[in-house]
């Protein structure tokens, strides 16, 4: 089994790239791989608590919470990108980390595969 690091900059609302990234992470964990997930830029909004579920928008928090329970999934939000959007440590869901960009680079260091989804 391997380690996959996924980084994404795409927003939760207005793009489906984050939806893709979360579903890929879910499939990888299901197959026994470990996944590190990095949220940067507009993707940081995925970490925000109290998201409402509407049928016209992607809602991924439920999947993220299930993935966190597996112990094979880590998710970290870019501190500067989050703070610039008013998302601080107290605003993010339990189990999610908030670190600076070097966390992502370190995660890639021993990753078997990296998929970087570099924004729109």
């Amino acid at each position: 089994m391997g380690k996959l690091t996924i980084g994404t900059f795409s927003s939760l609302v207005g793009s489906l790239s984050l939806d893709f990234a979360v579903k890929l992470a879910e499939a990888a964990v299901k197959k026994g791989h470990e996944v590190d997930f990095w949220l940067s830029g507009n993707a940081t909004m995925l970490g925000k608590k109290n998201q409402s579920k509407f049928r016209d928008y992607s809602y991924l928090l439920g999947t993220i919470e299930e993935l966190l329970k597996t112990g094979k999934f880590q998710i970290t939000l870019c501190e500067a990108c989050g703070k610039a959007r008013g998302i601080h440590k107290e605003d993010i869901i339990e189990g999610m980390n908030i670190y600076s960009m070097d966390w992502y680079l370190a995660s890639m260091y021993n990753a078997d595969r990296v998929i970087h989804i570099g924004g729109e």
Partner: protein, 137 residues
């Protein structure tokens, strides 16, 4: 000592989206990555501008005055100051009629010693091939 090479390939235009900016800030973050790694492990970033991405390298950007944000020019100069390798695709510069006089070639005014390298795409392809990890922006 295990050094892993990461390629940051930048094709997006600056400013309208955050993508090319985040490419540079992530590449610069390699300077502090060791706090998360084991002793002797480090990361060597290579930044390469290709396609429309070469337009990030134009001189005299006034984004700080116009938008109140750090310009890509300043980020590129910071990267050079930190001795990061910065490559710009020769064929793509030529496509836009640009020469080294039009782009940021050094960071001398802030004490940088390394310079931007204008290289053929084949060299950038070689970076993609030899890098341990490749990020496309």
């Amino acid at each position: 000592m295990a050094v892993k090479k990461y390629a940051f390939i930048i094709e997006k235009l600056p400013y309208k989206s955050e993508t090319s900016r985040l490419a540079l800030t992530h590449a610069i973050a390699s300077q502090t990555v060791e706090i998360h790694l084991e002793e002797g492990e480090s990361v060597e970033p290579v930044i390469a501008f290709v396609g429309d991405g070469v337009l990030n390298c134009l001189k005299d950007q006034k984004a700080l005055d116009m938008y109140g944000v750090t310009s890509q020019e300043m980020h590129i100069k910071n990267a050079l100051l930190l001795d990061l390798k910065v490559l710009v695709c020769k064929e793509d510069l030529e496509k836009y009629g640009l020469t080294e006089d039009d782009i940021i070639m050094d960071a001398e005014e802030i004490g940088g010693e390394v310079t931007t390298e204008i290289v053929p795409f084949s060299e950038i392809m070689n970076v993609i091939e030899t890098a341990d990890q490749v990020l496309f922006f």
